[in-house]
Symmetry: C2
Subunit: 504 residues, 2 copies
């Protein structure tokens, strides 16, 4: 029994509505008929309007204030109040006109960005992005901050995180990664066949699908409380912890798209399925930040999915599924193929060593944009310069440079750091799991993925939104946001793989 039944009912209604927005979004990417797209945009906009209306309802505000004043709340109830008040306060602070203006600017910017990327013409996108940056600055001011606009936006993705805390970590990471990337890219390829493992082959889509379903099951994803479908851009969605929906893109030329995609989304999916049952339909059935959510997908995708123990078990299975295509491939060549470090241009194709440099680049540019130190029109030049400094490569075109990501066209400024926060948390959590679970990698190499799933459920998933993300990581690992476990992980793995000594 809760001590605030009326408030709980409101929480449940909001969560139900949120779940249904999830359904309408999932459907949009999977089964919606082409001609239904404009109608769906209207339906989603109406639903989001209703959600907002319910959230800012003064009656909800009163219920929250009254509940907050009670002396007898359990810690879970306190956490529920904290989360919902946080969400409501942010919604109340931004004037409706600004919400509408952002929505309009987003709808206007998206097709322009697509066109600009196609034509490799940043100037086309520039006015739309300028408008978005201006609106997001105004939003940041409306939300309130202690002098740093970026903090107000970052808070939307990483509650509790601040530039002051984040910048030293990211800049420290950058200092370590730049020479590491250089050393690895200058070293000879660790296996002569690594670049040819998939080349020129075709991998049957149905067999890929079967393999991904098997992987999901063995990771512990409950296919009776969720499902997998195909979509162009893979994502994790759904309506409820018992209805979690993953999507996968299958590329017959390269099975790693689907395979790592599924391990990644499976990590997200396990988190969503793992919230404690007593928190379902409350604000606690959610992750406390995008970064910690990403830590789960990255932990599975990289720390597990690109590891030797994992492939010790799964490579023979994969090869049995594709005997013609992989029959002649040595396990070592395969392991090297899925772990090649290159001076990558495209973030979403980047390996785990270079990936975070792409994020640092964007983070620094976003900070400068928000602080007014960088004009949107100057982005392409600065982007290319910094890419050269960070990765030793200059994009041959803006399409492969500043225009590559959809995020800014969505107006999502402040989101990119979550990817790196996720990567850092993933290494810290995995190190904690190894301390807690002796023989973990041994067991993973026998295909016992569930031992890790169980640990994550118990230590992270169950808690949902009870703590701030960094607090949760500290609770589990004894430390918060740090690059030490991540850098140590990279060093150990890539020194062994490339047979080189990495700078420290």
């Amino acid at each position: 029994m809760t001590s605030f039944p009326k408030l709980l009912q409101r929480m449940q209604e909001l969560k139900d509505l949120y779940g249904i927005i999830g359904l309408a979004t999932w459907d949009q990417e999977t089964y919606l008929p082409r001609k239904g797209e404009p109608a769906r945009a209207c339906q989603l906009s109406s639903l989001q309007g209703l959600y907002h209306e319910k959230l800012v309802d003064p009656a909800l505000g009163e219920l929250l204030e009254r509940a907050a004043a009670r002396p007898d709340l359990t810690s879970d109830e306190q956490a529920m109040l904290r989360v919902l008040r946080w969400e409501r306060d942010r919604a109340v602070r931004v004037p409706p006109e600004l919400v509408r203006e952002l929505a309009a600017a987003q709808s206007q910017a998206l097709p322009v960005w697509r066109e600009a990327r196609k034509l490799n013409d940043f100037a086309l996108f520039c006015p739309a992005l300028e408008r978005l940056v201006r609106i997001r600055r105004e939003q940041a001011d409306a939300l309130g901050h202690g002098g740093r606009r970026y903090d107000a936006l970052l808070e939307g993705y990483e509650p509790g995180m601040r530039v002051e805390r984040l910048s030293p970590v990211l800049l420290g990471l950058k200092e370590k990664l730049v020479p590491m990337v250089q050393a690895l890219c200058d070293a000879p390829e660790p296996h002569p066949m690594a670049s040819q493992v998939f080349e020129g082959k075709t991998f049957n889509g149905d067999r890929q699908w079967r393999f991904t379903q098997r992987l999901l099951e063995e990771m512990g994803f409950d296919l009776e409380a969720g499902r997998q479908d195909r979509s162009v851009h893979p994502f994790t969605g759904g309506t409820h912890p018992r209805d979690v929906r993953l999507t996968v893109r299958i590329d017959e030329a390269n099975p790693m798209t689907a395979l790592f995609g599924v391990i990644h989304e499976g990590g997200h999916g396990l988190y969503e399925q793992g919230y404690a049952e007593e928190h379902h339909r409350t604000p606690l059935a959610a992750a406390p930040s995008m970064g910690i959510h990403e830590s789960q997908s990255r932990l599975w995708e990289n720390l597990v999915g690109r590891s030797l123990p994992f492939w010790a078990h799964y490579f023979p299975i994969l090869r049995a599924e594709f005997p013609k295509e992989l029959g002649g491939v040595e396990p070592e060549a395969f392991y090297c193929a899925v772990n090649r470090v290159t001076r990558s241009l495209i973030r979403i194709e980047a390996d785990e060593v270079t990936y975070n440099l792409h994020i640092v680049l964007r983070y620094e540019l976003e900070l400068a944009l928000l602080d007014g130190e960088l004009a949107v029109a100057d982005l392409p030049g600065v982007w290319n310069e910094r890419m050269q400094a960070l990765l030793g490569v200059t994009p041959p075109s803006d399409e492969k440079g500043v225009l590559q990501d959809i995020h800014w066209a969505w107006g999502e400024l402040g989101y990119f750091p979550s990817y790196t926060i996720g990567n850092l948390y993933s290494a810290t959590l995995y190190a904690a799991a190894q301390r807690d679970l002796p023989g973990l990698e041994e067991r993973l190499s026998r295909g016992e993925l569930s031992v890790l799933t169980e640990w994550l459920r118990r230590r992270i998933h169950r808690d949902g939104h009870r703590r701030y993300a960094e607090e949760q990581v500290r609770h589990v690992a004894g430390k918060g946001l740090t690059d030490e476990d991540f850098v140590e992980y990279l060093r150990r793995k890539y020194e062994a793989l490339y047979g080189v000594q990495l700078p420290r």
Copy 2:
């Protein structure tokens, strides 16, 4: 431009919400993971609560009154106002406690009905049904009526229809059907092989699926503005005229399940896709009654789909798809097989001659229940007696008798007549189409289904909810609800098929 922009916005919001309820319902029957079912029930209940809240909002009432007072409304605007006021008035009149009580009684009754049907134990279901009848009587009183409670419920499915108008038609129909059924069931089978056309054969599901997709396309159903999926209980749903979703059940033992199912749902689907574009997201993008909606599915399923011209074209195609299974079947045997008249026990399996007697039975029982002239406990006995009188057969069990339909367990009293109204309208409209389109059956026998689709779009679908259903039929056919075209259609078809003279 509309003369009531604010009201239009409310109409659109309601329609969007209604569409999303359609999505959540469709998903529940198609892709929802098993363990997500309880959560979906909550989500749907929250959505329906929101819809109701928006509908009864006093601000909407004021906007409606203010708009209604304007002298400059177009006829479409007047129709929009009429439809929304009707819906709102009904929602306002029923007290929230009664709405909640009905919802609770429905949820409670459904599993009890399933159990009772399984155990063939009406007594188990009796208290639940008594409660539902009581609540529906109270609802009828809350809704208001001129002395006949049934009218208030009937109005929910057939706006404008009254017992006073309906009863003479249904009773007249009964008088004609009873001797017709007797004559046909006493006559020898029209083709010796008719009962063995499908017996003991297996019809590949994928090929059935392909055939149904082809049929849908050739009927003119736009698969880019809708889709087909599988479900246990076929239905037509969706979210918008550009997102219409049909489902089909495929039975490998009998391809007619899928085939007539798809023609039936395709008829509904064409209606939903056919609303005039300028009415989308307004109350006019809807059928004016369940009966007229059913007229479209029945017209396609029976008047077209069970006709000689239709099979003259499609039987060779179907046989080519299933050469092994249907290679030795004569077209005449096939035509007879899909048009056999039997003393059917189960409504949903009944042929088109006996079908309406099942409806008349239920209608008379519902009237008596609502009028307080029949006790729920006495239903099984009366059911069996009347079945004997109407169809010359007594159900061997309540499971095959009074417990067969889900409708009463849903509390849906007043719904059944819509099926017969649909059948009667379908014959009247088809006769009008034949008058308007010389050579129609000739063209159908060449597979030109679109000629009929175009006519239906122009004469029925486009108009949506602009007129009351009977008014619309009268507008198109020059007459409203009557059994004359239907009875004439049956006589002509079944005299030819059975080679007998039917009583007149």
